[in-house]
Amino acid sequence: MATASQHRIRKRALKVAHFAGLFLAMSIICLPGLWVVLNSFRPTVEIMAKPPVWIPESLSLDHYRAMFGGAGEGGVPVLTYFRNSLIISVTSTVIALLVGMAGGYAFARYRFKGKGVMFVALMASRAVPGVALSLPLFIIFGRTGIIDTHFGLILVYVAMNVPFTIWLIDGFFRQVPKELAEAAEIDGCTRWQAFWRVEFPVARSGIASAGIFAFLTSWNEYALASQLTRSATSKTMPVGLLDFTSQFTLNWGGMCALAVLMIIPALVLTFLVQKHLIAGLTFGGVKG
């Protein structure tokens, strides 16, 4: 009996320690994010105070009001940036997913010459740091006249994302047994129907996670976007943050407010698809 209760106590202590550890780790991870959210609601004086004010004394929506206000009152074209970000991220994600699905499927299912080399080359292309490409890209885009356009950035993001979507989706299609497509073909499907009605739905959650990954990459990307955009016609939200810097001052509160607006869609999207991400694939259809 004694050992049983001892065991129970130890188990409970372990659980508490677990939670404490997780809480500590999470607070370290979340602190910068919380700081951003907090700062977007309080006056600049408090943000800049030394020693720092941990518990805010007054909260307001002043920074948000100013941001959406006219140009003279520290306003920035938030909605335009948001639209640019959305157009560029969504379009590049959709394209990267389509290419990724085609490529991933081909790598997972077919044997062809140079398959291994191609795969390694795709991965190696990701090893080149994006910033290293900014100058050549800037020159080429400048020459071809696609600098400061949606098209230009979409092109860059598709190129950045395709290797990863191919790699991820290849992995997910590999887990879908090829007998499923064969069974569908025998059941009367064309090759194309077998893909869309059986293989695609089974690999859907994998494709969704590749989509989130691609979307967040383009949504958050700053280095290349800051080089390749000039004006409100194509500036994305991360680049828009720079609007809050002027020659002698930094509007931290405004910057934080815009950052919060940037985080929200990403968070919402992640929550929407997290069911797919967590659920993973249900492979009840086959045994083995």
Partner: protein
Amino acid sequence: MAQVQLKNVVKKYGAVGVVHAINLDIAEGEFVVLVGPSGCGKSTTLRMVAGLEDISGGEVIIGDRVVNDLPPRERNLAMVFQNYALYPHMTVRENLGFSLKIAKRPQAEIDRAVDEAAGILSLTPLLDRKPGALSGGQRQRVAMGRAIVRHPDVFLFDEPLSNLDAKLRTQMRVEIKKLHQRVGSTVIYVTHDQIEAMTLADRIVIMRDGHIVQVGTPLEVFENPVNTFVATFIGSPPMNLLEGVIRAGQVVLADGTAIPQPPGLNVAEGRKVQLGIRADNIMPEGHALPPTAHMAFVEMPVILTEPLGTETLLYATLSGTEMQAKMLNPRPVSAGERMRFGIALDKCHLFDAETGNSLRG
């Protein structure tokens, strides 16, 4: 329903031949089992019939159509896969009705067909579950249901029972046989399990290394194996083979033991042969079937026993070869005991020692 013909069918991967010009006629409504060790080309042959594998040469004819260049969906067949290949994102009902839905049949007809198939296979209570929530045997039945819903010309089974445990396998074997009696379709069934082949088949096709070795009813291949491969592959335990030389009408083994030739055979003096004796035809004296006219007797030391209840399997050595013999009405036997065994010569086989081919013309 349809007949299936294979004419000189060849499968090559690059330069490597996997199936070498096989010929086979399968009659309408016949249950044919392709059996052989792994890598013998039986699955590849089945997949060529299904259209999942290109045919490198020859013709596959289903009904009266050459189907070489038809995609699987135009061949009107159904296939049950070894891993079942149920669609994991669909319920059992959707799985069963999928082929009819693809064929754009009216919903009422689909429902009727699904309910009928579910009734036959007692799947009705499971119709709204997904495959992930089913046991192995239930998944197996859904896979069969998916096949019968379409009323195909030909059923193809690719080792459908090898993922089930032994007990369930026996049950499903019976269900498959009942199903065939009920729907009467042509069936081509692939397995590496000779017991499945024996119990299910109207005709067995034994394959090795991409060739057909023998075709016949289960009893034909059991009683008249064309060579030592079939002799040891079909039947359990496998046939005992003793190396020897023909001397004065007797098979003389390496240790000098002489066993008369099986009756009705006349093999040239000095020829090297293998004498084939099934365990059922070599039994210890006093624990055997009534003796026949052609008996021979040998003495062997028992090295191991396997009591099975109604009979005991005895392992013994004769001329350095391990033999298996059956003991009816068993009594306890201890290892090392020497026993006298009777051999029913008229049930024995002679094979050429080099080619392994049967010497029974």
